[in-house]
Structures are given as C-alpha cells and as structure tokens.
C-alpha cells in the first residue's frame, strides 16, 4: 500500500525532490533504486571533484535551511587537500516556526538524501557523515537508522561502495530540544557534546567545523536536491527556477488556508497564485491580512506586498526573506499583538544567552509585548519595540538576535494600527 501522505499533492506542483512521495514503500532502497536512485552517485564517481562542484554551482542551488547561500560556492570553500579528516554534517534540526518539510524528505525518501550526502563526500573527499536530527523527531531518527542499515546491508554505505572503491560511514545524532542548534556553528558545538552556543566566524565550518576539521554542513533539503542535479545536470535544475535561484523547493504552508500542506514549486512561483490555487485560498471568504514568507524570523508582508514571485532575490528586494520555506498565512481576523507576542515568547525562550543584546533584548521585547497584550500598553511602546529591535540587529554572534528583531520591526511598522486599536480598547475599558 502506498503510504498515506500528510496532505494531498497539488497538480500545480513541480515534483523533483518529492517525485517519489506516495509511491509504494517509497522509503525503501529498492523503490529508490528502481526510480533512478544512485544513478547520480555512479555518474559522480566518474567525475572529478571540481566537476561535481561546478555542476552544483551551475544548478544555482541555494541553501534550503534559511540563509540561501549558494551551495556550490559553499562546497568549494572546503579545503579538499587538507590533511585533516573532512566531515559532512546534515542539519536536520528543522525548528524554524512554520517549517516541516525536512520531515517529509527523510520520511518518504531517505535514500535520496543519503545519495546526496555521498556525492558531497566525493566532492570534498570526506568519508564520514552525521545527520543531526532534532530530538522531537525520534521516529525519524529511528527511521533514518533503518534506512542507513539497509544501505549498509546492500553495499550503498560502508567500505567500497558499489565496488567503486569509495568508503563512507553515516550516522544519526539526536538533539535534545534547542532551536539555536539549527544555527550551523551552534549545531557543531552541540554535536561535540556541548551547549549549543554559536561560534565566532571566521573560521567558517568549511575550514574548521566539527572537531576543528573541515566540514560540509547543509540542510536536509539541500542534500536531497543533489542527486537530481548530478543526474539531469545543473543547467536543467537551474532552468526550473529563475536566474541565481535554481530549481524547486518544498514550501510548507500553514495558518489560515483551506489546504495547508507541503508543496514543491519552482523558485520564482507567484506567491498569490500559490496561496489561492495550491493552498486553496483563505477559509470562509475572509481577506488576507499578512504573510510570513519563510519562517517566523522573516519580516512579515502586508497583503498588498504579496503579489511577488517567490525567489530569494525578489523577497530580499522588498526587505524580507524566503528563509526556510515556512509560509504562514494570516487572515483579517488575526490579532497582531498576540501574534508578535507569541513570536517573541519563542525567541526569548530559545535565545542561548551568549550575546547580551539577544538575551536581554528578546526578554524585554517579550515583557513589553506581554504587558501590552495584558491591557497595560502605552502609546510609546510601539516606537520602543521598534527601537529596541533595531538595536539588536547585527549585534550578535549568530542570526537569532536578528531573527527576533526583524519580524518585530516589520509588525510594529506595518500594523501600528492594530496596536493603536488595542490602546483605544484599553482606554474604553478603563472608562467603563
């Protein structure tokens, strides 16, 4: 029986990474091999490492974890000739609010990711990899362990893979609850058995990552895109998207839509078409109020800003980000004070405490928002929230401080009316 999918696929999708989702036993090695699996690995084995990296560069694939850094460029930073062992680390810490795609890539097609990792190994001369999976995804850790065991048993991992003379060992590593560990250097500290605190950069992980060795660190979806790129060519993948924004990506849509789900579309897909046609529009005929385009850390968009193509550069142009692909749709009834407060409760909880602007900033923002929501808001709070947030920007080791500040700045600027209405209501209550 084909595995029941979490949501019905849409006929408007372009399914490249998710093309095996829904096939009978899609998670098995046999199904993977019968559907083009490991063709890319065999092809990559015949290529020079520089050619593999060049192909990834040509694909215009950009990191799917959130930052959107060009993947081929990241691969080229790993010093292949270093005498130190080189490691591959997969970021499967998926924790950005609104994001739930890596779950599906691991659950339905674990071998696609394994093949991507192996190709990464060929490219940077690495023979060992670790998949860092958030602790809440225990069933997926066990699922990946079974997939890895299956790959070992059939010669797709371990010594002399498929008779090519290439060796690679792959392991899972469980997290234990920490958003911050999705930040790559904090993840590396965590994998080394420490508190997940971000590191000073440079050196970047490509040069000194896990155990001070050169490390290639990418998101689950990024590695999962590699087999298609090598198999069909970087140019074919690039052509699916827009210039400098190659390929397709999995978007997770949630909130006020009729068909929430995870859907794969090309980069540059029109946002309103996505919301209205793929995600089924807003329930109850209500109006769109705002969209969080790619996870809670992205600056929020007002309804009239959403008529744009979804690629990294178009979102950057209007001051937001495509982020991790976690799109949250808000209808006209949404209380923006409560929404901003919930975002800040999250960041205050998850701040690792290493940098003072983040630790103190998120805590004070939470307190001010909480007071506002409790009916104790003051007119000057709106400006204070914005000012405090702006003072956090760029003043922390990692992006968590920015991630907390950016949505707050955009909410108080774009939805100041919501805050004013609350103040008016509070005054009325006092008068009564």
């Amino acid at each position: 029986m084909p595995k029941k999918l979490y949501n019905e696929p849409s006929p408007l999708e372009t399914r490249i990474l998710s093309r095996r989702f829904g096939l009978e036993n899609s998670e098995s090695l046999a199904t993977y091999v019968a559907n083009d699996g490991f063709k890319a690995f065999r092809k990559a084995r015949e290529m020079k490492p520089e050619q593999i990296i060049e192909e990834v560069k040509t694909s215009a694939l950009r990191g799917r974890g959130g930052a959107g850094f060009p993947t081929g460029l990241k691969w080229s930073f790993v010093p292949r000739s270093s005498p130190k062992p080189k490691y591959i680390v997969v970021n499967a810490d998926e924790s950005e609010p609104g994001t739930c795609k890596d779950r599906l890539l691991m659950e339905y097609d674990p071998h696609q990711m394994i093949e991507g990792i192996l190709i990464g190994g060929l490219a940077i001369d690495s023979h060992k990899g670790y998949i860092y999976i958030r602790g809440e995804y225990r069933y997926l850790i066990e699922h990946m362990d079974r997939a890895i065991a299956e790959a070992y048993a059939q010669g797709y991992l371990g010594k002399n893979i498929l008779g090519t003379g290439f060796d690679f060992d792959l392991y899972t590593h469980s997290g234990a609850g920490a958003y911050e560990c999705g930040e790559e250097t904090a993840l590396l500290d965590s994998i080394e058995g420490k508190r997940g605190i971000p590191r000073m950069k440079p050196p970047f992980p490509a040069v000194a990552g896990a155990w001070a060795s050169p490390t290639l660190l990418n998101n689950v979806e990024t590695f999962s895109a590699i087999p298609a790129i090598i198999r069909d060519g970087g140019a074919a993948f690039a052509a699916l998207g827009t210039p400098k924004n190659g390929g397709t990506r999995l978007l997770c849509v949630s909130g006020h839509v009729n068909k929430p789900g995870v859907y794969e579309v090309p980069l540059g897909y029109p946002m309103m078409k996505f919301i209205e046609e793929i995600a089924g529009g807003i329930p109850g005929g209500k109006k769109l109020k705002a969209v969080v385009p790619g996870g809670s850390s992205c600056p929020i968009l007002k309804a009239d800003e959403c008529d744009i193509p979804m690629d990294y550069d178009s979102l950057a142009k209007i001051g937001s980000m495509l982020g991790s692909g976690g799109m949250v749709v808000l209808d006209e009834t949404t209380d923006m004070v409560k929404f901003a407060l919930r975002i800040m409760r999250f960041y205050a909880h998850e701040s690792c405490g290493w940098c003072i602007p983040c630790r103190e900033g998120t805590t004070w923002l939470r307190k001010i928002l909480q007071r506002f929501d409790d009916g104790g808001g003051r007119h000057e709070d709106v400006a204070l929230l914005g000012e405090l947030s702006k003072n956090m920007l760029g003043r922390t080791f990692c992006a968590l401080g920015d991630a907390a500040a950016m949505p707050t700045i955009s909410i108080v600027e774009k939805f100041a009316d919501d805050f004013e209405k609350r103040l008016a209501r509070d005054r009325q209550m006092v008068a009564v």
Binding site: Y6, N7, P85, E94, S95, E96, P97, G98, T99, C100, D102, R103, Y130, R134, G135, E136, Y137, R138, Y139, D169, Y171, H173, S174, G175, A176, G177, A178, Y179, S190, I191, E192, G193, K194, R195, G196, W211, S213, C252, V253, S254, G255, H256, P260, G261, V262, V292, S296, G326, V328, L330, T334, K338, F339, R342, I343, F346, H349, E350, C352
Partner: protein, 160 residues
Amino acid sequence: MTFSPRLEEKFAKMLTIYPEGRQRSAIVPMLIYAQDEVGSITPELIDEVARRCGVSSLQVDEVVGYYSMLHRKPMGKYHVQVCTNISCLLVGGMELYEQACKKLGIGHKQVTADGQISLEEVECMGACSWAPAVEINYDFHHHVTPEKLDQLIDGLRKAQ
C-alpha cells in the same frame, strides 16, 4: 549504573562513531536516550554519562541545563506536549493547551498527582502544515480538535 541490554548496545556503538578522543560528543544523545529509561536526568545519571564519555560531571551538568527536552525532575509516564507557536496558534493551539490544563488540572511542566501524565506548552515541533499538533512522548498527533484532545487524554488515563 547500567541500562537495558538494548540501550547498552546502543551506547557501546555510540562511543565508537565519533573521532578518537572525541567521545564527549555522545553526551547529548546519551542523555536523552537514558532519560527515556531512567525517567529524568538524575545526579547518578549525570555521573554515569560523564564516566562513559570521559569528562567531569560538571561538564555534563552544564549541558543538561541547555536542552529543553532534558528534565531534572521526572515527567509523567505520558508527557503531553501541546504546541502553541504561530502555525498552531492561528488554528486553535492555545485553546487546546488551555483545555489540557483544565482537563488535567495541571500547568506547564507539571505532573498529575498520580505521576502518570505531565503537560508542557512547547515550541514549534515541525508539524505546522498539519496544525494544531500535540506530541505525546514521541508520537505526533496532527489536526487535533478539542474532541480529539479529550479522547487522547481519556485514552492515556485508561492505559494506566
């Protein structure tokens, strides 16, 4: 301190997968798997993990304090985690959490008097497109309605 044979086997392998001399890398996975068996992160467990990973107890202790899934006090046999982060918030996650508080008569990170069920308001668990979501121990429940939450909790009470 020893664990079940299954866990002992897992831990023995775990210590071999990291580079030579880097065995402390096993601290976080070892703690979370051991917690499932022991019930909480006890001082004895900290000492044991420290011994196995070749570090001081203090080095393990400071790690414990960082990770939200590690608990120094025992949680219930069934740990009910209700997400109220943005995607769940928009479709009733907060109301579900309040319902769970009322039904169980406990609050955030508290345990019922019989020690069977505990409750936690959690951050995003990666179930956004199938919100609102609840995770009981390691089992995800998606599209949770007030009725479904009642049934889930009643089911846990019967299972005791």
